[in-house]
Structure formats: structure tokens, C-alpha cells
């Protein structure tokens, strides 16, 4: 069951960082009309359409992470402590707290994308999106490193 949940957690996280990366690049580095390359197309999305999906995906990913967390606490965390891998423990501690801050950011993120008057608060939208993207990427990378930490030869 734990393995299945872990795979679902990872798949949701991939979808989340995909959506957040599209949106972040779309608002920070918008495509110019003449550009038609792959990278320009990646950025040329209607960023506002991603907001609801991102809120739902963030909630689902964090909720699954919260369900899996006790297993981590009783298994891998103890192993990391026994191996004295303090930095590995530290990056997960940061992940846990960053995700909490991210959960708290969701109401403001949703408000400024969906309810704030158009034309105003563009800067706020951009920075909130960047913050959420940073949190999602941090969580994704840390999760994968810890999941495969034995492969790093530590």
C-alpha cells in the first residue's frame, strides 16, 4: 500500500511541477508573438487557466505526503539518523516546513489569480507563483534524493 501511495504521490508531484513550471515561465518570461520554438511554446500558455488545477494538485500532493509521512518517520528517517546523515534529514525538515508554508499560500495564490481585479496585482501573482514553484521543486527533488539515497553511495 505504501509503495502504491508513494508512486501516486510522485506522479501527482510531477503533474504539479509541470503545471507550476508552465505557469511560472509563462508569467516571468512570456512568449513574444514572433517566437515559435519549443521553449517559447512551453512558456506561451494562458497562465490563469492553471490556477485552479495547481491548487487542487498541491492539496492532493501534500495530503498524500501527509499520509506517507508517518511511514517515513518510522523507517527512512531512523535509518538516516543511524547513518548520521544530518544534511539529508535537514533537507527533509525544510521540505516539511516549506510545504506547510505552501499550503498556507494557496488561499492568497487563488485569490490573486481568480478574484483580484484584472490588471492589478500582476507582480503579486508572479511572486506567489514563483514561491509555490520553488516549494514544489524543492519537495520533488528532496523526495527523490531521499527515496534513492542509497544510490548516492552515502
Amino acid at each position: 500500500v505504501i509503495t502504491t501511495l508513494l508512486i501516486c504521490h510522485a506522479l501527482l508531484a510531477v503533474t504539479l511541477i509541470g503545471a507550476l513550471t508552465h505557469q511560472t515561465l509563462g508569467v516571468w518570461w512570456p512568449r513574444k508573438s514572433a517566437q515559435s520554438s519549443f521553449f517559447a511554446s512551453f512558456r506561451g500558455v494562458r497562465a490563469g487557466l492553471y490556477a485552479n488545477a495547481i491548487v487542487v494538485l498541491f492539496l492532493l500532493t501534500a495530503s498524500l505526503g501527509g499520509i506517507l509521512y508517518p511511514s517515513y518517520r518510522l523507517g527512512p528517517r531512523v535509518m538516516l539518523e543511524n547513518l548520521r546523515l544530518a544534511k539529508a534529514n535537514g533537507v527533509f525538515e525544510l521540505k516539511e516546513h516549506f510545504v506547510a508554508i505552501g499550503l498556507g499560500l494557496l488561499p492568497a495564490y487563488w485569490y490573486f489569480w481568480k478574484r483580484a481585479p484584472d490588471g492589478r496585482h500582476q507582480e503579486t501573482r508572479r511572486v506567489l507563483t514563483l514561491l509555490l514553484a520553488g516549494i514544489a521543486w524543492w519537495g520533488f527533488i528532496v523526495g527523490h534524493i531521499l527515496n534513492n539515497i542509497r544510490g548516492f553511495g552515502l
Binding site: G66, Y69, P70, S71, R73, L74, A86, K87, N89, G90, V91, E93, L94, E96, H97, F98, A100, I101, L103, G104, L105, L106, P107, A108, Y109, W110, Y111, F112, R115, A116, R120, H121, E123, T124, V127, L128, L131
Partner: protein
């Protein structure tokens, strides 16, 4: 009610860091036994390790919901003049504070 959402996010970040730093969890979860304890309960040999993260989330959620609710007493014409950037600046600063508070994992 919707206009209070940015207030919730701003206050949540601060309350979460305070809850974490001072261990102000509203409940504790013991993963080995699957049991719960009130507030920040200490782990025992019987209960095994204690998890406070869920309790910190609840503390910060209820606290920021209360502050967001109170903020609705401020007339909309006045609250609209507040700088919207507080809703990202405060959480961003709290992220830096968290890195500072957890620096012990990475030093030494």
C-alpha cells in the same frame, strides 16, 4: 469572506513558524501506535516517536482563520489600500527564517 484570503496566507506563515519554533502543536500524533495526544505531548517508551507537524498546521490554520475573520471588520475601502505584496513578502521572509532556524542540520 474571499477578500480575507490574503490575510489568512500572510498570518499563516508567521503562525506556522511560531508554532514550530515554540512547539505549539494543538495535538500530537504517535505513528508507532497510531495514537494521538493533546497539545505537544512528549514521547514515551511506550508511544515511540512523536510527530508535531500536523498539530502545527492546525494551530496555524485556526489562528490565521481567526485573524482573517477579524480582518473582515475592517471596511473593504480601507483594506483595499493595503499593499498586496505582504501576502508574498511575509511568507518569503518566513522561508528564510526557517532556513536560519534549521541551519544546525547543515553546519558541523
Amino acid at each position: 469572506v474571499i477578500r480575507a484570503l490574503p490575510v489568512f496566507s500572510t498570518i499563516f506563515a508567521v503562525l506556522y513558524v511560531l508554532a514550530m519554533y515554540f512547539n505549539l502543536a494543538l495535538f500530537t500524533y504517535f505513528p508507532r501506535t497510531g495514537g494521538f495526544g493533546p497539545l505537544a505531548a512528549s514521547p514515551t517508551t511506550e508511544s515511540g516517536v512523536a510527530m508535531y507537524w500536523y498539530g502545527w498546521l492546525l494551530t496555524a490554520s485556526l489562528g490565521s482563520a481567526a485573524v482573517a475573520g477579524i480582518s473582515l471588520l475592517v471596511p473593504e475601502s480601507r483594506s483595499a489600500r493595503l499593499w498586496a505584496g505582504w501576502s508574498w513578502l511575509v511568507p518569503a521572509v518566513m522561508v528564510i527564517v526557517l532556513v536560519y532556524l534549521l541551519r544546525g542540520w547543515f553546519l558541523g
